[in-house]
């Protein structure tokens, strides 16, 4: 392969991986949801058409769930184009990815397959195997009844007679032998049965029966999952006068950061000690899991007004900045954070003002770090383009340490997270757990590795992913 085409290939792949870490097809501060979806879908088709085996192996590279589901759907829709070896590898990657996808993502993926009329033997087998291997298929049938019905009828998946009739008749049947189905049926007639159902199912029924919110929230409490408890903090505080107790150990760092920022600054201050301890513990866990350790790291963190995100992703960019900051604080031997508008207490940051990255960047360089990590959406406007310029000159003239840019926002117009100029490699980031992997990816992005190396790296990750090894995280 000539070097020019190799460079194109490497850039394509880095672009794709970048996008797959940041984009979720949701509305962003600067762009609408439809724009985002259009951009990412095009990118998927392009990479699928040109680099099929790398496309499949992207499943092993920690790309976000939205993109994993999209990759699986696209692979299943175009099986005819793959060679037998490719198909074999894809099959295993898909099965492994599905196992690790959150259930709702998997179920929506199956619905999507039905909507796109992807109905080949392999797609049917994937759906069938997933349902056959599910830990509690009855529970799935109750919680995701509509999605499952659609998936099963589309894929002709065999079902035990009772589950089939449950999917078909729901509460209209006379009686069920399976306890959960029977509870579901009774809940349509008896209030008490309501509280034995999964929350998301019970909530709809409670609304239908006009159960007062405080009664419902009090009685459903034992059935809540950790994620639901976190989501219902505000609702429970309002209805019950006390927020649900949450177990911070069960929550990942990014979610905790999002939660902390969802509180009004006054309350954050009041609960500072508690929140701080939670975040620190979650960061320690994440750092231990990643097994990475960095030297002297400085972080430049963007808290400009645009970090408030969108109605789909409230304060998401700011939450990621906070999470990355806490993570690197734990994972490096020395650490300093420089926010675009200085703050004494990280926990109390709010989206504020214009984006001046150059000033904190200079402060960071003056601190003498070995690595500078910038977390920003890349819309720099005070003044525009200054940060990239500062890095370029500092690297050329002053022997400054490498500066990498993590961007939580995908820019559909350029099919990539918005960068800060040629001197700063930019990668998309969706979750703080990916940070060590992303820093490796930055090497590729900055042109430090060849396509062959990239392929080898992908292959190794795919192997580890299939073996369920830790490197796949």
């Amino acid at each position: 392969m000539s070097s020019a085409s190799e460079r194109v290939a490497r850039e394509d792949l880095v672009t794709f991986l970048n996008a797959c870490h940041a984009c979720t097809g949701q509305r962003e501060f600067y762009e609408a949801g439809a724009e985002q979806r259009l951009g990412i879908e095009f990118l998927h088709e392009y990479v699928l058409g040109n680099y099929r085996s790398l496309y499949a192996r992207a499943l092993a590279c920690g790309v976000n769930h939205f993109n994993q589901a999209l990759i699986v759907a696209n692979l299943l829709a175009t099986g005819r184009r793959a060679t037998p070896e490719q198909r074999r590898e894809e099959g295993r990657l898909i099965a492994r990815a599905l196992e690790r996808l959150p259930t709702q993502r998997a179920m929506h993926l199956f619905e999507e397959l039905a909507r796109r009329r992807v109905n080949n033997r392999r797609a049917r087998a994937v759906v069938r195997d997933y349902l056959a291997r599910a830990r509690d298929p009855d529970f799935l049938a109750v919680k995701y009844r509509r999605s499952m019905r659609r998936a099963v009828s589309h894929a002709h998946a065999p079902l035990p007679a009772e589950r089939a009739s449950f999917l078909r008749y729901g509460a209209r049947a006379r009686a069920y032998k399976a306890e959960l189905f029977e509870t579901f049926r009774r809940a349509h007639y008896a209030r008490d049965a309501l509280y034995e159902l999964p929350f998301s199912v019970a909530e709809g029924l409670a609304h239908k029966f006009g159960v007062p919110r405080e009664v419902f929230l009090r009685r459903i409490e034992p059935r809540l999952t950790a994620g639901e408890r976190l989501r219902l903090q505000g609702a429970s505080a309002e209805a019950l006068g006390r927020a649900y107790a949450i177990d911070p150990r069960s929550l990942p760092l990014t979610k905790l950061a999002s939660y902390a920022l969802s509180l009004p600054p006054g309350e954050r201050q009041k609960r500072a000690a508690e929140l701080d301890a939670w975040l620190a513990a979650a960061a320690k866990r994440a750092a231990r899991r990643a097994g990475a350790s960095f030297g002297r790291v400085a972080c430049v963190l963007d808290r400009s007004y645009s970090s408030s995100g969108s109605s789909d992703k409230r304060k998401r960019p700011l939450a990621l900045a906070l999470a990355v900051s806490r993570f690197l604080r734990e994972a490096s031997s020395a650490y300093a954070a420089f926010w675009t508008a200085q703050t004494d207490d990280e926990l109390c940051v709010t989206p504020l003002g214009a984006t001046d990255l150059a000033t904190p960047l200079l402060d960071a360089l003056a601190w003498g770090p070995e690595l500078v990590v910038v977390v920003s959406d890349g819309y720099e406007n005070d003044p525009p383009g200054a940060a990239g310029d500062v890095v370029r000159v500092a690297r050329e003239k002053l022997g400054a340490p490498p500066v990498v840019h993590l961007n939580p926002v995908f820019e559909a117009r350029s099919f990539a997270p918005r960068g800060l100029g040629a001197a700063v490699p930019t990668v998309g980031v969706r979750d703080v757990d990916e940070v060590p992997m992303l820093l490796t990816l930055c090497l590729f992005a900055s042109g430090g590795a060849s396509l062959a190396e990239l392929e080898r790296h992908f292959e190794a990750r795919a192997r580890a992913f299939l073996e369920g090894g830790r490197a796949a995280d």
């Binding site: 501060f29 600067y30 400009s304 007004y305 645009s306 508008a341 504020l352 003002g353 214009a354 984006t355 150059a358 000033t359 200079l362 360089l365 003056a366 406007n381 005070d382 003044p383 525009p384 383009g385 200054a386 310029d389 500062v390 370029r392 000159v393 500092a394 050329e396 003239k397 002053l398």
Partner: protein
């Protein structure tokens, strides 16, 4: 009218780095340590058109004008420099009748007069009223060139059009994504790098609240057209840092400061159509140390012309400003009317002053939409000739 010459100074305000989005570039105006003795709050009037009594109450006989008034501003001030706050009257709506808002006067005192400086005003209407009323009385001697209607009723009915900010393509989005600086008290709106409007209030908190009200204001037809024709603003960049001049981090800091200065120069250039312009100002109201004025730059078809209103502190600091850029047709109308008035409405003299003939002047008046003040016979003969 009692106009006096003045200079439109942006005293006490610093220009920030402009932010571009689509056709728009917004230049932030920054003010450190706003004293807070003049506060401005919005008041919303809904979608109904409004009848504004210029010299009388809205339901009594007198000069009226009908317009869409989307919002008003309530200005509260103290003369001893203490913090100004709004009284309980803040939420009270103006009286309305069959979906028409009745508003008494452009600027109206509110609350007990003893409490002093709180009044309500209709933003930009003050300025536009001044423009509309320009030589509104018409000819004071009935020269043969003018119609009887002009002699009897002056220029009535006089009307002008503007486009609401909602109608400007992409303006909503540009305002939404604009990142307001903590000390920002105003902004200058450029459309395809043409100065469209300036808006300044006294306190950063008020600006934050009123930022989106720029959408409710009206803009000239030129601005509307530019917003459609130039969907992307030209990219502007500071000169890149030259590595040869950098030997330490401090040098880099200096280079960054230089880039900032370049941006400030650019912003000053962009604001040049308003900042420092000679204007004619008319005092409308005084409250303590504050003076509410409306102003207009010289009206000339070859220049960029703005009208507006401002509140100036006794020491010259700008406390409030709202400007409107007149469209070319509006400038022509104002220009012709001024030329006529300056010649005592003597038609030949006015034509000479403009360096044209009687016929040409008549045609220009007709083309500018002022044909109705000319005698029908004169107009017909001119139109026949062409």
């Amino acid at each position: 009218m009692t106009y006096h010459p003045a200079t439109l100074s942006f005293e006490g305000l610093a220009l920030g780095v402009p932010q571009a989005m689509g056709a728009f570039r917004l230049v932030p105006l920054l003010r450190e340590g706003a004293p807070g003795d003049l506060r401005i709050a919005p008041r919303h009037y809904g979608r109904a058109p409004a009848v504004v009594g210029v010299d009388s109450r809205p339901l009594e006989p007198g000069i009226k004008y009908v317009s869409y008034v989307p919002h008003g501003l309530v200005v509260a001030s103290t003369s001893d420099g203490s913090e100004a706050a709004f009284g309980a009257k803040l939420g009270r709506e103006a009286g309305s009748c069959r979906g028409v808002n009745l508003l008494h006067r452009m600027v109206k005192g509110e609350g007990s007069s003893a409490a002093g400086g709180q009044f309500r005003m209709l933003p930009l209407h003050l300025a536009l009223e001044g423009f509309l009323a320009l030589h509104f009385g018409g000819p004071d001697v009935l020269w043969g060139e003018y119609s009887r209607h002009a002699a009897r009723f002056g220029l009535s009915p006089r009307s002008e059009r503007g486009v609401s900010g909602h109608g400007l393509d992409g303006f909503d989005e540009a305002l939404r994504v604009f990142e307001i600086a903590p000390s920002q008290v105003g902004s200058i709106v450029l459309v395809a790098d043409a100065l469209a409007a300036a808006f300044v209030v006294s306190h950063p908190d008020d600006y934050r609240r009123l930022h989106r009200s720029l959408l409710e204001d009206f803009y000239g037809e030129l601005i509307y057209r530019y917003a459609i024709l130039h969907p992307e603003t030209a990219r502007a960049e500071a000169e890149p840092i030259d590595g040869a001049r950098v030997a330490s981090l401090d040098d880099l800091r200096a280079e960054l400061a230089r880039a900032r200065r370049q941006w400030a120069d650019f912003a000053a250039l962009a604001a040049g159509g308003l900042a420092g312009r000679e204007v004619r100002a008319e005092r409308v109201r005084e409250a303590g140390p504050f003076r509410l004025e409306r102003f207009s730059t010289k009206l000339h078809p070859d220049e960029e012309c703005h009208i507006g209103e401002r509140i100036v502190r006794a020491d010259g600091a700008l406390e409030y400003l709202k400007s409107y850029r007149l469209s070319a047709a509006q400038v022509r109308r104002g220009f012709l009317l001024e030329a006529l008035a300056a010649s005592g409405w003597r038609f030949d003299e006015a034509a000479e002053r403009l360096g044209s003939t009687r016929d040409e002047l008549a045609r220009r008046l007709q083309n500018a939409g002022l044909g109705y003040i000319l005698a029908p016979g004169l107009l017909a003969s001119v139109l026949r000739k062409s």
